[in-house]
Amino acid sequence: MQEIELKNIKKSLTEGTILSGISLQIPAGKFFALLGPSGCGKTTLLRLIAGLESVDEGTILLGGRDITNLPIHRRPINIVFQNYALFPHLNVFDNVAYSLKIKKIPKEIIEQKVIKILESFGLENHIYKPTTRLSGGQQQRVALARAIVNEPAVLLLDEPLAALDFTLRERMLIELIELQDTLKTTFIYVTHDQFEALTVADQMAIMNHQGHIEQIGTPKEIYEFPASSFVAKFVGSTNTLQGTLQKTSPDPQILVPDLGAFSLFIPEYKEWMQEGADILISIRPEKMFISKQELPNFSNRVKASVEAIVYHGRSTQYNVVLHNKLKLQVFEQNEEHFTQEDIDYDNEVFIHWQKESAVILER
């Protein structure tokens, strides 16, 4: 359990510059997720930490110790590869025992450790099977066991669940959280899947297409208070309205062309929040309410017509269009049977939201 600190990391590959000056602090003993779109350089960053690639510039510190030039096999950091990279000529036991055998640990201790860890992963019936005869989920567990048997200071996971089906993935996510909880090892989890990142992470960082880190925070902070429109759109779905900031009135407002003014809640003023500034508000679909009548007690409402209704079971998604052709998404919980008033295609409806639910962003 050690913290990782990246200082101004730069890296170019043959395809071009991937990372241009990343600084990041990954706290010890935390489950840290690095979320970003494909090709943003998050895997490269992971490979730099592991030592599979060397940095062009910058420093990597592990628990305060500079490991930038430490060769890969001497770093107390292990990685779980996306395709698991299990050794096909070795059986489950020998795969897991690999790092211990390299360390020349006595046979009896290796056997004890390997069997104990395989039992804890529910693989006690597969110890001497070739890895090629295991299912995807079992191979995933072998890869995990192989990476943690040597008790690394940091465990890196590179989209480890990408090859698994949805139900298995959900189960493995829970197992990973529990594993991290017992081991207290620093986990760095790289993914492009916001659901996975939100589920596992204590702390997460969002990287954009240019390889810059847009925001770092807890999943709740990231989801509820996205720091940029990229984060708002990339993590979860959201509705955005563009307009200009009006501060003169007693209540600050956003003036949206063709739609009118909507009241805003500004907990603290930032420097860019000037009168007339171009701003953007982001409102999550589940924080909007749809109804045929105007509902009281909402600070904002707008007229719309229903374009599509998608029934999801626990919720219903309404795609509505405003009179200026702007489209919005609204989620309604299906809390009780038949309490929903009948909203149908092409109905005229009102969309409501509280001003506190809208996040104000710079445009």
Binding site: G51, L52, A85, L86, F87, P88, Y98, S99, I102, A147
Partner: protein, 284 residues
């Protein structure tokens, strides 16, 4: 559905039939004939007189056993030399870019376009007393008087390695080319050095190619007669030229059977040996 089952069972068999018939007619039947000839005794008129093992036992004499063992040694040393040269070459080929790979493969295959005898004559010019090699060594001041390279074991070995090298490179290359580079990364990540990774991961996984190449080189070099004859003169007698030198036919068949059986046994031994080597490497 019926058409699918036809496709999956009967068509492959139909496609394989011509080659199967070819093999039976021209490989297995002749081999059977050789075995029969070697254990039957014939009258002077060529009539079969009966069963005998006399001809077989006639070859278990020091002279013939020496011929066989020198052939085994020729095959083994050729295969080992080829392996030593081919492995690094195949490794390099497999690790370079796609265009470079194809170019190197092309270079490797070029010699197959030239007649075998032309190769031999080309080597004559290199190795003879006034040849290229002597000339080069003298110009460099390494030699004062030319060495007669031709008609020596050295010349035989050079030609053997030269001729058989592609048969070793190609299977090793093809097994290394399929190799997943992430396995190397995983091994390094788990604390192994580059050398340990090679011994424990890369080499064992390329073993199918090594084994195929080894036998592809070892077996034909055991019976090789043209190269020792042309390059080595008549100083050293090997199995191939000895069988060829027999004009009775019947004794030659018996010798072939004896030599082949010993070759087969040696193949089993080598197979086990390669297995042992891989295991020992993984433990080190």
């Amino acid at each position: 559905m019926k058409p699918t089952s036809l496709r999956s069972h009967e068509i492959p068999f139909a496609l394989g039939a011509p080659s199967l018939i070819w093999q039976v007619l021209f490989l297995y039947l002749p081999m059977l004939l050789i075995v029969c000839t070697s254990v039957l005794s014939f009258s002077a008129a060529g009539k079969i007189e009966g069963f005998t093992l006399e001809k077989i036992f006639a070859f278990f004499t020091p002279t013939y056993l020496e011929v066989i063992s020198s052939s085994l040694l020729l095959g083994l040393s050729n295969a080992l030399l080829c392996l030593g040269i081919a492995y690094p070459l195949a490794y390099f080929m497999a690790s370079c870019g796609k265009r470079c790979k194809n170019f190197l493969l092309f270079l490797l295959i070029i010699p197959f376009w030239t007649n075998f005898l032309l190769h031999v004559y080309a080597w004559f010019f290199v190795l003879e007393k006034e040849g290229f090699l002597n000339h080069l060594l003298q110009t460099l001041g390494i030699l004062s008087t030319p060495i007669p390279f031709m008609n020596t074991l050295f010349a035989t070995m050079i030609m053997m390695v030269y001729y058989y090298l592609p048969f070793m490179v190609l299977p090793i290359y093809s097994s290394l080319e399929k190799f997943d580079a992430r396995l190397v990364e995983a091994s390094l990540d788990l604390g192994a050095t580059r050398a340990q990774t090679f011994r424990r991961i890369v080499f064992p996984l390329s073993m199918p190619g090594v084994r195929a190449g080894f036998f592809l080189v070892y077996i034909p070099s055991f019976g090789e007669f043209a190269i020792p004859e042309l390059m080595g003169g008549d100083k050293q007698v090997f199995v191939g030229s000895d069988i060829l030198g027999d004009d009775t036919g019947s004794l030659g068949a018996a010798f072939a059977v004896v030599a082949c059986s010993i070759l087969l046994l040696s193949c089993f031994a080598i197979h086990l040996g390669l297995h042992k080597v891989t295991h020992a490497l993984q433990k080190s």
